[in-house]
């Protein structure tokens, strides 16, 4: 911290934060209404919720384009000092840490139900009476293919689709690293090709995942309604899929920026941030592959 090459850049006023806040506000109001209207929860028909939700999204997209354009301009104008770069890096790392904790909540739920709740419902520990009086026919097992209330389903094995997906994500990560190396050595062609492959693999992953969901719903009876196995399965893989979508989109943006020649070996924080994010998504998947599909 001892050297301060240039002054820390404090941006002038910016309208994007308030727009972002309004965007979030409209989005969540829309989402809450939309969910209630589309699940018959309250008797207010109509599609106001949907319109609000879409409007909110549009505001958020508008905001992101604008906000990022501002920061890109600043970056290109050379306003970002080394110290500023560090700020961005640290910010991104802590953000990823918060994402890890978000997934942690769902992994925690998975472990808890799998290791404690389900055995307890089957009479383990001091829960003999829970089993005997309340769920006499229930059998504890994992995957929980028959829930206490009798819903049956089939579990999703690790083979072949999830395994294919693991391979896709890992290779995608490798290509990304090659691309990263390319940026550092200013080998633009390498970057464009390898990053491109990485992105294509990412989107392929999503297609496979979509097919897997289709299969689960139509052939396995594995749905969101299918007890705790379905709940944890879809929330974990679903949020992961959402993050893959975000990550792949980020990488796509980076790809365009590379075509525009935005990065150089010394200044490519945005690319690195996207790459970290992608690796994070990768690691979550590997973990998920083991505990959700395999074990």
């Amino acid at each position: 911290m001892s050297e301060h090459p240039n002054k820390y850049y404090i941006p002038e006023q910016s309208k994007w934060p308030i727009i972002a806040a309004i965007g979030l506000f409209v989005t969540v109001i829309g989402a809450a209404n939309f969910i209630q209207q589309s699940t018959d929860f309250v008797k207010n028909e109509g599609s106001l919720g949907l319109y609000l939700l879409i409007a909110g999204f549009l505001i958020l997209v508008y905001m992101m384009i604008g906000w990022f354009r501002d920061t890109i301009k600043e970056s290109l104008a050379g306003l970002n000092s080394k110290q500023m770069d560090t700020s961005y890096r640290m910010g991104m790392m802590w953000f990823i840490f918060s994402e890890v904790m978000f997934f942690g909540a769902f992994f925690g739920a998975l472990f808890y139900t799998r290791l404690l709740t389900v055995p307890w419902l089957g009479g383990a520990g001091s829960n003999a009476m829970t089993h005997e009086v309340l769920w006499p026919t229930f059998q504890a097992m994992w995957p929980l293919v028959k829930t206490p209330d009798g819903t049956t389903l089939q579990a999703m094995g690790p083979w072949p689709l999830p395994f294919l997906n693991t391979a896709l994500l890992i290779t995608s990560g490798i290509f990304l690293s090659i691309a990263h190396h390319g940026i550092k050595t200013n080998a633009r062609r390498t970057v464009v090709i390898n990053l491109g492959i990485s992105i294509v693999l990412g989107f392929t992953f999503l297609c496979v995942q979509a097919y897997e969901y289709y299969h689960a719903y139509h052939a396995l009876g594995l749905t969101l309604h299918a007890g705790i196995y379905g709940s944890t399965f879809f929330l974990l893989t679903g949020f992961h899929g959402l993050h893959v979508t975000i990550g792949a989109t980020l990488l796509l943006i980076m790809w365009c920026r590379i075509l525009k020649g935005h990065f150089n070996p010394d200044n490519h924080f945005a690319f690195e941030a996207a790459a970290w994010y992608w690796h994070f998504v990768d690691v979550v998947w590997i973990f998920l592959f083991f505990v959700v599909y395999w074990l």
Partner: protein
């Protein structure tokens, strides 16, 4: 001193700790009850141990502070010393509290281990919390597991007693804590206001009793301070807890639901009636017999038909005890609870089947009543709902109409 002054003084004096006020105002409770069971007394001693240690530590800390505040002040010309940092001192005030904590943890561990040991109990009662009453089911007594006794127990304080306007209790209704005597005059409230039920759960003294605690809807919690028992009633799981009221401690013990369970949470008392084993056995036999007869009558009455007046009369009673908590005595509902008065479902003759089904099977937050109430009562309630508050459909629902979905 007239009554007003003493009642004003009482709470003030109560703040003065222990000895001073206690003999004078024994009825004003401001400490934990020692209770009647071994567990509750163990807990009580643990509580006192903690209370005294913590008070002592607090007092120690505050005395140092007070001394500093009084003596080490600039206005007294005290010059500030400049000492700081001392590993030795830091270590001391790390280790001493640590040791104190270990000394506290030892008895706590012992009592806790004892609490969860439900083996070798003589009587097993299943306790089910429902919005907003307790359901008791006697399962096993002295190895006899063919008991047939279950009933619901709910608040019996009349609504008028708590739905009172501000001034009915006087502007300064102090001295109410003096409740051991007769009912306080300033109010229309009885001494056991809000802590009385229609049917208490009866247990024998001198025997270990195991409670299997669970719930049907949301989480409740079964709490009887004098037993030192509090256990959450969790839907879908059974928690076991036990108690043993020593012989000679027969009597009525009161408690309340202690987990927020919706708007009736404050109106879900628990009353335990501990009797001598012989009395208990008598009661058990009598109650089983009574229940058997009632069940028979209900079975017979399924095919009977009743006159409008009979049903309306029984229906009103049953409605007030069972339905009015939510739908209100005037049928207006409120908040998320739909109104019944002038509601289509209760006024349009062709929707009578739907009406019956909702009562039988429940809907959203409303429980299914088909297994909770006998057919005659269901029929009476529905008849009442379709004819009260200006819903004059004139329709009559008989027990046989409600034994199946329509």
């Amino acid at each position: 001193m007239d009554r007003i002054t003493t009642t004003w003084l009482r709470p003030l004096l109560a703040v003065v700790p222990g000895i001073l006020s206690r003999p004078l105002f024994a009825e004003l409770q401001y400490d934990l009850t020692p209770g009647v069971t071994q567990i509750s007394q163990d807990v009580f001693h643990l509580h006192r141990l903690m209370l005294y240690t913590c008070t002592a530590i607090g007092a120690g800390v505050f005395i140092f502070m007070l001394y500093a505040v009084l003596k080490h002040r600039k206005s007294k010309g005290h010059k500030a010393a400049q000492f700081h940092e001392s590993t030795l001192i830091e270590l001391t005030w790390t280790i001493i509290p640590f040791v104190i904590l270990i000394l506290m943890a030892i008895p706590a561990t012992r009592v806790l281990k004892n609490m969860v040991d439900t083996r070798e109990s003589a009587l097993t009662i299943k306790v089910t919390g429902r919005q907003w009453k307790w359901h008791y089911e006697y399962l096993i007594y002295e190895n006899d597991n063919s008991l047939k006794l279950s009933f619901e127990s709910q608040l019996s304080t009349p609504r008028e007693a708590y739905e009172t306007p501000l001034r009915a209790s006087g502007l300064f209704p102090l001295g109410l804590a003096n409740y051991s005597g007769e009912a306080p005059k300033a109010t229309n409230k009885d001494v056991n206001y809000l802590l009385e039920v229609d049917k208490p759960v009866v247990i024998p003294t001198g025997k270990k009793i195991r409670f299997l605690i669970t719930a049907d809807d949301v989480i409740h919690s079964w709490y009887v301070p004098e037993f030192g028992v509090k256990r959450d009633a969790i839907p879908g799981f059974i928690n076991e807890i036990w108690t043993l009221v020593p012989e000679g401690k027969e009597g009525i013990y009161r408690g309340q639901c202690t987990e927020l369970c919706g708007k009736g949470h404050g109106f879900m008392p628990i009353v335990v009636d501990a009797r001598r084993p012989a009395d208990f056995e008598q009661w058990l036999a009598d109650s089983q017999e009574a229940q058997r007869i009632a069940a028979e009558e209900a079975a017979n009455s399924v095919d009977a038909t009743f006159a409008m007046e009979t049903l309306l009369e029984e229906g009103e009673q049953a409605y007030l005890t069972t339905c009015a908590v939510c739908h209100q005595p005037n049928g207006q509902g409120g908040g998320a609870i739909p109104a019944l008065a002038q509601a289509d479902i209760a006024t349009q003759p062709e929707r009578i089947g739907e009406h019956i089904n909702v009562v039988r099977n429940g809907r959203n937050a409303m429980p299914a009543f088909k297994d909770l109430l006998p057919p005659k009562t269901l029929a009476a309630i529905i008849t009442y709902e379709r004819n009260a508050w200006g819903n004059n459909t004139g329709q009559l629902v008989q027990p046989k109409d409600v034994v199946h979905d329509q």
